[in-house]
Amino acid sequence: MNVTRGFTGRPRVHNPGLPPGQYDAGDDWPVLSAEVTPDLTPADWTFRIDGLVAEPRSWDWDEAHTLPASAYEGDIHCVTSWSKFGVRFAGVSLDAFLDVVRPDASATHAVAYSHSGYTTNLPLADLTDGRAWIAWEYDGKPLPAEHGGPARLLVPHLYFWKSAKWIAGLRLLDHDEPGFWEQNGYHARGNPWEEQRYSGD
């Protein structure tokens, strides 16, 4: 252990919900995106699932809202090392979308892509069984544009760069294919509990 002389850190209580190397951002919700926040209204927004599925399809805002509502209440963790506790998102479980398109047995991974051109890769198993959402509400209000509104992917058990803002679609693949940050040196999976920040972790 390389103790830093004179560094004690802020007074803290042990928080079992805090993954290694993370700190509690409290009420702050830092914004971290590399591109211009797109001017995207609900009327422009669409979400598509294709690739290795029986029935590729797209939903517009109203169609997506006819799917059963589903909420997430819990924590989120950003690779830049802040975590945010007890956040509330509402939208639709990704399972509801996947049920419609019926993934092939050969589908193992997905590339999520956004209306801004951002991509990120995920194992399909991280997107199913109630572990992922398309979210359009935060804390009972429409999701702000800078946080990915009108709708973002939400995969709260992975570092938050996987939760693509301004989500436009998922393409299902039979192999893993690095997305934007993953091509830029970030970890392929990004599990905060394993501290999978950068490629090689």
Binding site: T8, E35, Y198, G200
Partner: protein, 265 residues
């Protein structure tokens, strides 16, 4: 020499691996970064502290095995307390790539800040911290294309690395900096700016210089210069500033896929 290789391809969002879907807004070209360096924690020994402004200082470190970086990249820095508690934060590299075995960070003293607080009140030459990097080639500028830099507060730090690199390497590719600060005494790295820089003061300005925030009037003349191939824009600062500045650029006609943004949170 930086191990990071420039393989940028503009607007390559849809031209990547075969199955990457086409998208409506193209992300700017990327620069491949060495993953090996980013995975390793290294000891950085503080060798010098230089005051920049009342709240900002530059910290110079010896990092003998530093793999090199491209201007605009950042690193992750870790402090460890006696009980094993660690705090990690990202910091942009202020120094140019060719400062062999040394790197410089320029830190704003954030009120109540855990890591910047340690640096500004405790740190002294000889102290050791840990760093890993360089990280994220997206915001990097290899010196290849005309660059329009727009920064505020400590957001000027990665942009300064670009200016220093251009000078040190004797590049003549066009480069302009628009930098915003509350007043002249808060302008970081002020002594190093030359003809490429326009300073914007939001609260207090020297005699005869207008006070006000970055506006379309600052952006328009720079966009009108239109160097061959157009500008690659780099915007850095707080999220509020990044939103404001990037919107001004888009409204002034800068293509959305040629604006790179680094938000400090």
């Amino acid at each position: 020499m930086p191990t990071a290789a420039a393989t940028a391809a503009p607007g390559s969002a849809s031209a990547g691996p075969a199955s990457t879907p086409p998208t409506r807004f193209a992300v700017p070209g990327r620069i491949a970064v060495s993953n090996r360096a980013a995975a390793l924690w290294q000891t950085a020994t503080l060798t010098e502290i230089r005051r920049e402004t009342p709240a900002v200082s530059t910290f110079r470190f010896a990092v003998p095995c530093w793999a090199g970086h491209l201007p605009g990249q950042h690193l992750m820095l870790r402090l460890t307390a006696g009980d094993g508690y660690t705090a990690q934060r990202h910091y942009s590299l202020a120094s140019p790539p060719d400062d062999a075995g040394h790197i410089e960070l320029t830190l704003d003293h954030v009120e109540g800040g855990e890591v910047s607080g340690w640096f500004h009140t405790e740190a002294r030459p000889g102290d050791e911290v840990e760093v890993r990097g360089p990280l994220s080639g997206f915001f990097a500028w290899p010196g290849d294309r005309p660059a329009l830099l727009v920064g505020a507060g400590s957001g000027v730090v990665p942009l300064m690395s670009m200016i220093r690199h251009r000078r040190a390497a004797g590049l003549d590719v066009p480069l302009r900096l628009l930098v915003s600060a509350r007043g002249p005494e808060e302008l970081i790295h002020a002594a190093e700016y030359g003809a490429e820089t326009t300073a914007v003061f939001t609260r207090r300005a020297p005699e005869g210089v207008p006070v006000g925030r970055l506006s379309a009037a600052h952006v328009a003349p720079l966009l009108a210069e239109r160097p061959a191939g157009g500008w690659e824009a780099y915007v850095c600062g707080s999220n509020a500033f990044a939103e404001h500045a990037s919107r001004l650029l888009v409204e002034a006609g800068q293509p959305v896929d040629r604006i790179r943004i680094e938000r400090f949170g």
